[in-house]
């Protein structure tokens, strides 16, 4: 499966570009600020059917009645929602003519992460001799996938070409009135991914390779919907280890996953949005609502995340275990350094019989950052024989950072077994001296120790990203001890 993806990528990177390259694209933007007109403008620009406009308007009207939540362990200056452009036509990033024009610090990071030169060019927007035509990439992948009946396209395309599926499932896992940012996203979402795997089909390609090529234009309010029909399987990878910058500070995405009877969805995220500078200025606010529902019996949803970027991370990938014998998993490594803040965790809601959930959360704090785990394990009255195991570990680097844990356990059924373990540790000067004395540099020592600590989570990632993630962890923690 992997060989297929890798050779495909090589092929595309080396192929000749047939069409000319347009460097100037006209940009169409909605006027600044958010009003009902803005919502209509967006829907009209995307040529959406009536049901979609209604969905957006309902969400917007709801949003007006809601207030921003303040319970998380994060602080930021108030967001001026009227000072944001909510729609800009997809624009190509500024084209550079050679790799020498790219910020050398960025190149250094790419090299440290082991990203090939070809990919470096793509990721930094250099016009390469062998350019990737997004149209041709899509065509190549689409052919392989459509043979199996798999639909993998943008959200915008799905609204046009598969309205029934969208109507049926959009908002079914994260309703527009779920929370403040979900309402906002539902009103103004720009684009995202749509994926449908038919009955009994195992998706042959790690849906990661394709995504990497197209991360250059990741939107601000992204919306993703993944539907795995009965007995289907898909492994979906979101994000990029390469540091991503964006002019837009607020990112409020929604990801919904629906797994029907005996289906299995693995969703992996590697997030390295610009975290702000060493003084804590700038940086992305990443407020995401991710939720999956194991709708049919025997379904399984697994979330794996490596979060190293963003100034503020606020997300709780969750699983609703509705069907019997369903399984929910959450594996997370969240790194904060300098002045970053993270409040992240998961919710596992046990509803059906014989449900099982596993939570492994590894927080790493350095610099003057704050890292919080917030989790909910809820077992309702009729959930017979539920099982949960949670492990929340915090690693502190240095003495100016913070690690906090807010576990909530609500059990309403006597046959449940719930286990919760938590540890807090730090990398001490003694440990570093010990490593140094064996010849290992401090930088490598921290990498070794942190990776050992995060091992359990990293091994859940698709292999090609596991290796990059290891290097990413090491780089994220540079300058954190001392």
């Amino acid at each position: 499966m992997e060989k297929e993806s890798n050779s495909l990528l090589k092929e595309i990177a080396q192929s000749e570009y047939k069409y000319g390259f347009t460097s100037d694209i006209e940009m169409v933007m909605a006027p600044i600020g958010l009003s009902e007109d803005t919502v209509r403008f967006i829907s009209q620009k995307k040529n959406e059917p009536e049901f979609m406009l209604e969905f957006r308007l309902k969400a917007y009207r709801n949003w007006l009645t809601m207030t921003e939540p303040t319970w998380a362990h994060i602080s930021h200056p108030p967001i001026d929602y009227q000072n944001i452009y909510y729609y800009a036509a997809p624009k190509k990033k500024k084209q550079l003519s050679s790799i020498e024009e790219v910020d050398p610090e960025l190149i250094e990071t790419f090299n440290k992460l082991g990203i090939s030169l070809e990919e470096q060019k793509i990721l930094s927007g250099v016009a390469v001799d062998a350019v990737i035509d997004s149209v041709s990439v899509k065509t190549t992948f689409s052919e392989t996938l459509s043979k199996k009946g798999i639909i993998f396209c943008s959200m915008s395309e799905a609204v046009q070409n598969h309205p029934d599926l969208v109507k049926q499932y959009l908002g079914s896992v994260v309703p527009p009135d779920d929370n403040y940012f979900a309402a906002l996203n539902s009103a103004v979402f720009s684009d995202g991914s749509f994926c449908y795997i038919p009955k009994g089909v195992r998706c042959p390609i790690e849906l990661s390779t394709y995504f990497r090529i197209n991360t250059a234009n990741t939107g601000q309010f992204e919306r993703t919907l993944i539907i795995a029909d009965e007995e289907a399987y898909v492994s979906y990878m979101e994000g990029c280890t390469a540091p991503m910058r964006d002019e837009n500070q607020l990112h409020a995405a929604i990801v919904e996953i629906v797994a029907l009877k005996d289906a299995s969805v693995k969703y992996s995220t590697v997030q390295n949005w610009y975290p702000g500078n060493k003084k804590g200025e700038g940086g992305i606010y990443n407020f995401v609502t991710k939720r999956g529902i194991c709708k049919g019996n025997g379904a399984k949803i697994s979330w794996t995340q490596v979060e190293t970027g963003s100034a503020i991370t606020w997300k709780y990938p969750s699983v609703i275990l509705l069907g019997d014998n369903t399984v929910g998993e959450f594996y997370s490594v969240a790194v904060t350094n300098n002045y970053q803040q993270a409040d992240t965790g998961t919710k596992m809601i046990h509803i059906g019989k014989n449900t099982r959930s596993t939570i492994v959360s590894k927080g790493i704090s350095g610099g003057k950052s704050n890292n919080s785990y917030r989790g909910l394990v809820k077992i309702i009255k009729r959930a017979e024989n539920a099982r949960n195991h949670s492990q929340c570990d915090s690693l502190l680097l240095g003495d100016k950072c913070g690690a906090h844990t807010y576990p909530y356990i609500k059990v309403e059924n006597k046959t449940s077994i719930v286990e919760h373990e938590a540890t807090t540790s730090k990398i001490s000067e003694d440990q570093l001296f010990y490593c140094n004395q064996r010849g290992i540099s401090t930088e490598d020592a921290i990498g070794l120790i942190v990776n050992g600590y995060a091992k359990e989570v990293l091994k859940q990632l698709p292999m090609e990203f596991a290796i990059e993630a290891q290097k990413l962890l090491q780089i994220s923690l540079e300058g954190s001890v001392g």
Partner: protein, 251 residues
């Protein structure tokens, strides 16, 4: 001459601990440093290793012709200095094998060599752990995690066997060991002795020296080496204690 220490004075938090230490160690020699607790033995070991916790106020250390103070902790290790710690720390999540692989590769890189191939590493690990009578389970576990005192000391010798240092400093390796563990540790050290390397054994009791026979014995007392001799000196200390040295110390 491998190691030459001249008039070394070391303080910590303003308090002077070493007050002018002189020592010479040649390749092929085993030196024992004895003395009452709190007199500077571990300080000396840690200063040679390069710990930044101490202030060096005077003196010089020459190692293999180089000024040791010019080298960082890692560089000293790559140049062949090994410290067997008195209290080895735990490093959870990092397996012994991975740890040794990182160390060996760091040292090989320093000398312009390629990283060690996996097969060779595993073969070496297998060979050396048998030398120190470490169970197979242990080499897969996290570094020192959950080890007993004796196991930690054995693990230090295991690492020493893998890294093959030129100058090995054993800081109170015998403390906390029962007779069997002591025998195993001493056996390991004896097997690793060559004409090219050297050992400094820091110990409080002469018991270890029954098993690892030293060429020279020094007594570190109130921050200075006040007396040096052969192994008979160790015997004398065992019989008389350290009190009598007060008269020996040159005021």
């Amino acid at each position: 001459m491998m190691l030459s220490i001249k008039n070394l004075k070391v303080s910590i938090n303003g308090k002077e601990i070493l007050k002018g230490v002189n020592l010479e160690v040649n390749a092929g020699e085993v030196h024992a440093i004895m003395g009452p607790n709190g007199n500077g033995k571990s300080t000396l070991a840690n200063v040679i290793a390069g710990s930044s916790a101490y202030d060096i106020t005077e003196g010089e250390i020459t190692y293999k012709g180089k000024n040791l103070f010019d080298l960082s902790v890692e560089e000293r290790a790559c140049e062949g200095i090994f410290l067997s710690f008195q209290y080895p720390v735990e490093i959870p999540g990092v397996s012994m094998t991975n740890f040794m692989k990182a160390a060996m590769n760091a040292q090989r890189k320093y000398h312009g060599r390629d990283p060690i191939p996996a097969q060779e590493l595993l073969a070496k690990v297998e060979q050396k752990r048998q030398l120190v009578e470490i169970t197979e389970k242990m080499s897969g576990r996290s570094v020192n995690e959950g080890y007993s005192g004796g196991e930690k000391k054995k693990n230090e010798i295991f690492q020493m066997a893998l890294l093959e240092p030129s100058l090995a400093i054993l800081d109170e390796t015998d403390s906390g060991l029962d007779i069997d563990a002591l025998r195993v540790v001493a056996n390991g050290v004896n097997k690793l002795k060559t004409k090219e390397n050297a050992f400094i054994l820091i110990t409080h009791y002469q018991r270890l020296l029954d098993y690892i026979v030293p060429d020279f014995v020094h007594v570190l007392y109130e921050g200075r080496i006040v007396k040096s001799g052969g192994r008979e000196l160790a015997q004398e200390l065992e019989e008389k204690g350290y009190e009598w040295l007060k008269d020996v110390v040159v005021k």
